[in-house]
């Protein structure tokens, strides 16, 4: 129904799961995106990284739905981190909404790997 449905790729590397979101997230598909991401989250992973770099557009409603994921994970003592390049639209929205100061936001995938790849549990 929604022509702007988000594509999600899941990748589990040593120690964390990366979910790459491609497309546009707004009020129209925010809760749908939340549901689909939730279903893909691997129960065994302690760290979930949302890669928002390929996102063409995200608004505050879209972001709010992703923060619900953060709440869900915190309850089970797990954590959420973001990848968003400094010049991209998602980084801008993360900063504008103050999310950037409450979560770990990495410039690129390499710095994620540098942080979590070494701390295998």
């Amino acid at each position: 129904m929604n022509e702007n449905s988000v594509t999600i790729n899941s990748e589990i590397a040593a120690g964390y799961q990366t979910l790459r979101l491609v497309g546009e997230i707004d009020l129209a598909n925010a809760s749908d995106t939340y549901g689909r991401v939730s279903e893909l989250i691997d129960e065994c992973q302690r760290t979930i990284v949302l890669d928002l770099d390929p996102i063409d557009y995200i608004d505050s409603a879209g972001l709010k739905s992703l923060l619900r994921l953060g709440d869900d994970l915190r309850r089970t003592n797990r954590r959420l981190a973001f990848v968003a390049s400094p010049s991209g639209i998602s980084r801008r929205v993360l900063e504008l909404t103050g999310v950037a100061s409450a979560f770990d936001v990495y410039d690129n995938h390499e710095s994620v790997q540098a942080t979590f790849g070494s701390t295998v549990e």
């Binding site: 929604n2 022509e3 702007n4 546009e24 707004d26 009020l27 129209a28 557009y57 608004d59 505050s60 409603a61 972001l63 709010k64 390049s85 400094p86 010049s87 639209i89 801008r92 929205v93 504008l96 909404t97 103050g98």
Partner: protein, 787 residues
């Protein structure tokens, strides 16, 4: 709607048009009337015996229906005959006035809708029948009122004396005597009648008998009206020596006739009214005057309450709904007869309406055609005036005559309201504004009572970003025309995407209208606006030419009419091919499509009307499209009544630098909004980063409008983007109330940070978010952007 049934009558139709007669006959015979027909005036008189109503066309091959009417009115044999004039050509108010002036009871213009014909015929028949009853009643009243007997007098010219009986001297207020001198009797004649009386008496030498009516003013009583029949008295030589006269006192009869004439006039006035408002406004002040009342009111029963229309004095004053309380009105409803009510028996509402100094109130039932009580008519007296039983009976007669006109006015008003609401339902409830265009629409019903319905406008967005503007006018009128209009609109909507241009579209619509169930014609103008918005293609089906306003050098706005070779109206013939014309509109333009109600002025040439419309349009071109639409609807000279319906559609393209959008308040439209915003930013040559900021802030505002303004996902929001010098201003407008504001306000935070300035304004009509960006700062950001 229910039509009062009337006992069948013999009706004569005089009309040279066979189809016209046929149409009338069909309707009338269905109502069980006996219909006789004449094709010309010459054969009409022979058919008049036993006829109650004549329906005569005013233009006949062998004479004029007006003169025929006048002749009938002058003939005592046809005193009770009702006359209805019809015309297909003489449709102006002055024609109608001339018709009624010639003595017709009513005047109808072809085509005549069946309900209008039946209700008019039924009203006229009842009117004339009631009149005949009145004449009979008058005869009864006269015998019971002991009109003074015949007195006899002899005027003796030789002695200059008048010899008469005592009864005659009583009448004049003179002492009983054999005779009185002529110069005592003469001054008693009313001065206004004296010269007519003396000249008649001088002429008596030539005429053998004379009948004359005159008034006398006795010293001891009010003036009396006398009818005198006189014959000459001659001596043996044939010389006139005196007059023998018999006189009847007709004072009461005259007064009664005057009163009946007044009632007749009141009832006729009421019968001419087209709605209740006008009926009350025309009738109540006249009732006040006729009964020398301080106030008159009509109380119409409506379920558990009464709708009261009151007049206290000169001007028609007010209408209000009141509960029905025990009082004069309730008493009349109970006993179904006129009453004289004293102050003590009035309800508190009646006391308030009549005024505390009203001491006597007359109240009489208003009866419908089937003798049901539908209301009560009241008059109130104050001061020295006191009402008699005679006054009460006269009000009773009025009440009986008012019911039919009231029901007829109500039915006509109901029908008009029905057509108007049907028409409104079948027009687009709301036009979705195509990207880049400002659109204003209007529909206004005409003043001609039932001649409304059938005009339409539409603005259709095609998938390829083209826009179809269309306006049309169905030839017929009334509910059927409104329905036809709805069908043609639906055809157009369905066919618009399948046709390449307006000519093909009109041909396709014509085919469906001609072959389909619709039995009517319509004129149509179709204008396809290109996706570039700089050119258009026009095709016409017998419609008035659309107008375009363009901005020339030095911002001079010029108005011109667009023309394309016009084809037949749709529905006129089976296969019609239409021609289309391509028109360069330029970078900024305003197109005005309308129906002929906007330019048709009686007594004015169409070219003159079009020229006036063009100058009015150029004069108001600077305002927005809504105020332009209002300005065009104003006839301006205050003399012309807008008889016909008007449909008006204005579309404006103000150039590439502006953004104009109207989107459904649904989250699904946000992606479309982003697309349009990005295209606009590209036209303004904004860099990617600035584009992102404008899109972000605007879409947050739009999301707020969608989430908070409308509870059921219905409605629209509007986006306007303008560049003003160094600023980019975006306005997001909705029509909701933002009852539940977002608690975290993240969207508003984004707007506040991204925009250089923003204002939120809530009014009774909705909420408006105005965001401005500094274009200069965006160029600076361009240099800083990049990792």
């Amino acid at each position: 709607m229910t039509w009062t049934t009337t006992a069948p009558a013999r009706i004569l139709i005089v009309d040279d048009d066979l189809d016209g007669r046929e149409a009338l006959r069909r309707v009338l015979t269905r109502a069980h009337h006996t219909v006789i027909e004449a094709a010309d005036l010459a054969s009409a008189p022979a058919l008049l015996a036993g006829t109650e109503l004549v329906i005569v066309d005013v233009n006949l091959p062998d004479g004029n229906g007006l003169e025929f009417t006048r002749a009938l009115r002058g003939d005592a044999r046809y005193a009770g005959l009702a006359i209805l004039q019809t015309s297909a050509l003489a449709v102006a108010p002055q024609h109608q006035a001339a018709g009624l002036d010639s003595g017709a009871d009513a005047y109808l213009v072809h085509p005549i809708a069946a309900p209008v014909l039946l209700s008019t015929v039924s009203a006229l028949l009842r009117l004339r029948r009631a009149e005949r009853e009145l004449v009979e009643r008058e005869r009864d009243l006269r015998t019971t009122m002991r009109i003074g007997g015949v007195t006899v007098a002899l005027v003796d010219f030789t002695q200059q004396r008048v010899f008469a009986s005592d009864e005659h001297w009583d009448l004049l207020g003179l002492e009983h005597a054999d005779s009185h001198p002529l110069d005592v009797v003469t001054p008693l004649v009313h001065p206004d009648d004296l010269s007519a009386l003396s000249s008649a008496l001088t002429r008596i030498g030539d005429d053998n008998e004379l009948e004359i009516e005159y008034r006398v003013q006795p010293s001891n009583r009010s003036s009396r009206s006398l009818l005198m029949r006189a014959s000459p008295v001659r001596d043996d030589a044939g010389e006139l020596i005196g007059i023998r006269a018999a006189m009847i006192d007709i004072t009461e009869r005259r007064a009664l006739q005057d009163q009946l004439a007044t009632i007749d006039q009141l009832a006729r006035g009421a019968a001419a009214a087209l709605d209740l408002e006008r009926l009350f406004a025309a009738t109540l002040p006249a009732v006040c005057a006729a009964w020398r009342a301080s106030g008159a009111a009509l109380w119409m029963i409506d379920d558990d309450h009464v709708d009261v229309s009151v007049n206290n004095g000169d001007n028609y004053s007010e209408r209000l709904a009141l509960p029905l309380e025990p009082g004069a009105v309730a008493q009349v409803l109970k006993i179904n007869q006129p009453i004289v009510a004293r102050k003590a028996s009035l309800s508190s509402a009646e006391l308030r309406l009549f005024g505390s100094d009203a001491h006597t109130v007359l109240a009489a039932p208003v009866r419908s055609g089937d003798q049901r009580i539908i209301g009560v008519v009241t008059v109130s007296a104050r001061g020295a005036l006191d009402y008699t039983n005679g006054d009460m009976n006269l009000l009773g007669l009025l009440g009986e005559r008012l019911g039919e006109p009231i029901q007829r006015a109500q039915a006509l008003a109901d029908e008009r309201a029905l057509v108007e609401s049907l028409q409104k339902q079948l027009l687009p409830q709301r036009i979705t504004r195509p990207p880049g265009l400002d659109v204003a629409t209007r529909y206004r019903a005409g003043a001609n009572h039932l001649d409304i319905g059938g005009d339409w406008y539409d603005c259709i967005q095609l998938p390829d970003r083209r826009v179809l503007l269309t306006v049309g006018d169905v030839a017929g009128k009334g509910a059927a025309a409104a329905v036809t209009m709805g069908q043609i609109r639906a055809y157009t909507l369905a066919l618009a995407t399948r046709c390449d241009g307006p000519a093909e579209l009109l041909a396709a619509v014509n085919r469906l209208v001609y072959r389909g169930v619709v039995d009517d014609l319509a004129t149509v103008a179709c204008l396809y606006i290109d996706e570039t918005r700089c050119a258009a293609t026009l095709a016409m089906a017998g419609h008035v030419p659309p107008m375009v306003l363009t901005t020339g050098p030095a911002s001079v706005r010029t108005a011109r009419y667009l023309d394309a070779p016009s084809g037949l109206p749709v529905g006129a013939a089976d296969e019609v091919s239409y021609a289309e014309r391509r028109i360069e509109l330029g970078a900024e333009w305003t197109v005005i499509l309308y129906t002929d109600g906007l330019v048709e002025r009686r007594g004015e040439r169409l070219d003159d009307s079009l020229a006036k419309l063009a100058s009015r349009a150029s004069a108001h071109a600077r305002g927005d499209v809504e105020s332009l639409a209002d300005a065009l609807l104003q006839t301006g000279d205050g003399q012309h009544v807008q008889h016909d319906d008007i449909a008006l559609l204005i579309a404006r393209f103000a150039g590439d630098q502006r953004l104009r959008l109207q989107l459904a308040a649904h989250p699904g439209t946000l992606s479309e909004l982003r697309r349009e915003l990005r295209a606009w930013a590209e036209r303004l040559e904004l860099d990617a980063r600035s584009t992102g900021e404008v899109v972000l802030a605007t879409c947050e505002a739009a999301a707020n409008a969608i989430q908070h303004a409308y509870s059921f996902g219905r409605g629209f929001y509007q986006i306007e983007g303008d560049r003003e010098n160094e600023s980019l201003i975006v306005t997001v407008r909705d029509e909701g109330l933002w009852l539940d504001r977002p608690s975290d306000g993240k969207g508003l935070d984004i707007i506040a940070t991204v925009a250089d300035e923003h204002h939120i304004r809530s009014t009774a009509h909705g909420t408006e978010v105005r965001i401005s960006f500094n274009v200069a700062s965006m160029t600076v950001q361009q240099k800083q952007s990049g990792p």
